[in-house]
Symmetry: none
Subunit: 194 residues, 4 copies
DNA sequence: CATGAATGAGAGTTCATTCAT
DNA sequence: GATGAATGAACTCTCATTCAT
């Protein structure tokens, strides 16, 4: 598969990503992707064998980008509270953005493949989130910004709340106010009262 | 529809519930249900037109039972902390129980139908949970058991964490320790320190 | 599957038999049979899962009929030579009849499935033929009609020649004269010269 | 087509021969051959248009070699019985050798193309075999080694038996004992009893 | 009411064949 | 000559849905 094919493969992945974002994982057929890409039936099979394989490759790409995001935060020179605020802001943006989100597809995929899929992306990202947040909280505690008796569980708590918001966003919708309320509640729970 | 038919309809719903618990919502076909019930293809269509309709009726039944559960707690004569502990214990049991749970099916269903489904069951139950917890926290604050500046957001926070735990349980698995950690963290956040 | 379905199943088998007779085994698709039967695509799958399964059932029917034929001969009251002549005459008829013969399909099927197929029909019929002929030759020898030092190999020889004629008939064609020549040669080899 | 191309063409034929030996004729696709050869899809079409054409050219090569074999026998200075024994020995070797044999592919090919293929290789080889054997038997009769009233049919008989053994070998398997039994039977039928 | 045979639409998959490079 | 990406036809198989009995 030469350079040109790599380009086309990427084109298919990008197009398929849109399809998955629209229809979730389970409803997407090879035919859907073929039609979205405007290529021939057989053509798609030159690159991928199944929707599952396509989705996995899309996930790999996403994971890459997500990792980049996470590591980006830590390098800043801001205070712990600033960084946490930034992190939550970004999460909020993602939560409220409807279009182009793979959330539903990802959940559908891992409902079926979560246990068998070694190196489960959702798992890895959740754990990574907890780790980053835990470290951040500890930093904040050390600097006197935060008060927290159990940084580990506090970090996990934040991640669970984000998961909860995410799933509710997809099953019955959330408002910006709801997100703001929770994020404020989280921040206030950590900040040392003046 | 006579009494006999009502019985058969109920039989179909009960059997179909098992099928949905096993396979989620999207993968279940009318054929699956027909086979699980041991009835004829045409027979099923006398009672239901689609898996969606069947699932909706199952959800109605579930909602009824869930409501019963919630209202059950409040009637106790225990302290707010006791009731909350009881509530969380029950949530824990549900979180850790794998078999027979409709969780995945429900999520899959509302991913597709969440916005269109008026009277969305997930939504109603989430709101109900928040309301009950808010009232409970307020009671606890009044009795001096709890300290909480924003009972509303605290209640929502608990519900979001439970959602987060629930979805993680289905996508990559959670351990009892993880649940205990979070539930303890929640309780400690509310209890007035001695 | 009620009585009516049994009839339709038989109809499919009879129709499919014609298709296999025309096109051999490997070239026949489910679609071919569907079209020959004038039924729907899905309809065929109610009765059979694959061309292989259909062919196997056809073979079972054939085997039944073939067995009936064999046993028919022996019951006669004729001399051994008469019976053998009759047997060879019938073989000749089959050899020269082109239409409706499953020969090619059978060979094609057993090329692929001969070793795995327990209870290989071709094998059973060949052995049965040898046994019947051996017994017949021994009878003829006892009655003084035949002269033969090794009835077993003589019987096998006849069966091999018949196989050879059969395959040649299908690969490049044989004439009646060629068959007659061989059959006469076989008879003369056995008959006691006057 | 230059010398280099001729070499490549030969390489394709040799490789394809192995493929046909493994899978017979009908199951082999252009793709199979392309992959076995490790060349490009388009590359194969520069030399051949179809599996049929490839197979025909392979058959031509085989025929050449087979003819060489036949003529080889006659040139010896041995007695007729010796030559016949040698011939049968070689036939036995071929019958028992499973790997690398084109037998199945050849039959499959001629099932479909036997009648249309002018200059049918199977036909020519069968006839050639009969002619050689007939001449040999006549020689043996003249020298007093053999007794045979109808050399022509005796020769044909041997060829038919060999065909029968060949096809049985491919459809349900034969043992060395079975071959030996028949070959001995043939020899004894010709030899003048001492 | 209940049955289950029948239909046909549609998804998956494989290959022969072509063609721009 | 040689490549291999691309196409589209053909086949397999599964279901939702209908309907005569």
């Amino acid at each position: 598969m030469g350079e040109k094919s790599a380009q086309k493969k990427q084109y298919i992945l990008d197009t398929a990503r849109r399809v998955f974002a629209e229809k979730g994982f389970k409803s997407v057929t090879m035919k859907d992707i073929v039609e979205a890409c405007g290529i021939s039936r057989g053509g798609l099979y030159l690159y991928f064998d199944s929707t599952e394989q396509i989705f996995q490759e899309i996930l790999s790409m996403e994971a890459q980008e997500a990792d980049d995001l996470f590591t980006g935060h830590i390098s800043e020179e801001d205070t712990a509270a600033d960084i946490l605020t930034l992190f939550l802001k970004e999460q909020k943006k993602e939560l409220l953005q409807q279009k182009g989100s793979l959330t539903v597809a990802v959940y559908e995929y891992f409902f079926a493949n979560g246990s068998t899929d070694k190196n489960n992306m959702l798992h890895r990202q959740f754990d990574a989130g907890v780790r980053v947040l835990e470290k951040l909280i500890k930093t904040g505690v050390a600097s006197g910004e935060f008060y927290c008796e159990d940084p580990r569980e506090a970090a996990a708590n934040i991640m669970y709340v984000l998961e909860g918001l995410k799933i509710n966003a997809k099953t019955f919708g959330i408002t910006e106010k709801m997100v703001d309320g929770q994020l404020a509640y989280i921040m206030e729970g950590l900040l040392v009262e003046v």
